[in-house]
Amino acid sequence: MFLSAAHADTGDTAWLLAATALVLLMTPGLALFYGGMVRTKSVLNMLMMSFVSIALVTVVWLAGGYTLAFGDDVGAGLLGDLAHAGMAGLGPASVQGTVPTLLFATFQLTFAIITAALISGAIADRAKFGAWLVFVPVWALLVYVPVAHWVWGPGGWIAHRLGALDFAGGLPVEITSGASGLALCLVLGPRLGFKKDAMRPHNLPMVIMGAGLLWFGWFGFNAGSAMGANGLAAAVFLNTLAAGCTGLLGWLFVEQKRDGHPTTLGAASGSVAGLVAITPSCGSVSLLGALVVGLAAGVLCSYAVSWKFKLNYDDSLDVVGVHLVGGIVGTLLIGLFAEKAMTHGAEGLFYGGGLAQLGRQAVAVAAVAAYAFAVTYGIGRLLDKAMGFRAAEDQEHTGLDLTVHAETAYDHGVLGHGAPVAHSVLPTAQKVKSQP
């Protein structure tokens, strides 16, 4: 199947090339979305946790992640084989469906990158950067890759044995990152001053900019998952826009009723919640379904983000409240709103399909959430024991930007300028030293 003699379709290939670039842009977008929500003292660290995921996940994906996720099934639909480790056997002539295999692999890679980056929001302001550098590749291989195989790989058990639907990643991306974020914030514990100090977002324009980039990239994420430039991609594209809009309106409606003010952060969060929920369902619901899915996610997630204060887990930037809850909403609603016109098979409860599809969706949600939570918790605990996952207390007080990266994001005022102490390249000083 990977080395078939078929030729790639030029239209499909052109669209997937563009879609891949769109999805990659989501990770810097996420960095801004998250970065604006933290305090000034750790914003660079927040940006870095996302940005560095691009490099880390790409390396492990090319080495072994891709083949384990999308190689031929080794049995029971659990994992792919190692035939394409290091992208062996794949070249410009390899074709997957109607697109080059190398392009398909890169498109899927961009999904793995943003999923890892999403987790960082749950442990903002307090993670040891070195531990994050180890966590991301290990997590990508042990958590993302198997779940991606179950849902999208050849013979994966969720798609082929269970029969649950997930068009663009409610299970591997949203639920996996949300459940993993919950596990990791439990391993690290709450930020110093959680529930006592005001931890206001320091830059809401940055959050809106990030949400905009995410939305823009999401068209590549969802409509690219159609794997072709065709009518399905167009329907998915429109569903993606619609659900982001009703998510935004749903969240603002709750805020107006509950808090008395519609907020910028609420608008950004609501659009993302709607987009999260339409991710699994965009290929199986009609436009009406998409509007309902987005609205449901916007309303539910706006309540879910306050659970952490009652239950005492510091999911700092609401990866659980938005991605886990939104992902579950979208994946389950397929069981109600799936339409034959979109799925060419499965039908939801409201379209005469009974409860069977909803049951399949629920099993997939439970299995993926439990697997991601358990394995991530294990990785987190092990890393914490081996090298420490939590930054030192004084680093957290001072801020990770200065203590870990030796930088500060903003130069406030006119009096803060020092004089250069040393340069990493000092030719004259070295010359003087080496002279006898």
């Binding site: 005001a198 206001r200 977002p201 805020e255 907020t263 952060l265 969060s269 983000v305 306050s306 204060f309």
Partner: protein, 112 residues
């Protein structure tokens, strides 16, 4: 000489500056300040979580004047800064022993 310090709402700063210029005050110093009096902050809401913000942003204006000008300057500041609402700020004056103009070394009222 007197040092007059005024803490006012930031958006009244321009009105205060204009009033002082009309009065012939040649120079002043403005700093961004934060604090609270009876106004005692406000609340902000982020993703449903309410935050109490105690310290309210204010503008701090400092101007040194001759004794005889103290009352008119204070009056001008108060008139320009007043909105009648809570949080309008405070103005006070304290005696100043010496003033030196750095450029010329002039001292006392000549340095103003």
């Amino acid at each position: 000489m007197k040092l007059i310090t005024a803490i006012v709402k930031p958006y009244r700063l321009d009105a205060v500056k204009t009033a002082l210029q009309e009065l012939g005050v040649h120079g002043l110093t403005v700093t961004e300040a934060s604090g609270y009096g009876r106004q005692h902050g406000h609340t902000e809401v982020y993703r449903g979580a309410e935050y109490r913000v105690d310290l309210v942003p204010k503008a701090r204006i400092e101007v040194v004047v001759e004794d005889a000008d103290t009352e008119p300057v204070i009056e001008a500041i108060v008139k320009a800064a007043q909105t009648g609402k809570i949080g309008d700020g405070k103005v006070w004056a304290v005696p100043v022993e010496t003033v030196v103009r750095v450029r010329t070394g002039e001292r006392g009222p000549d340095a103003l």
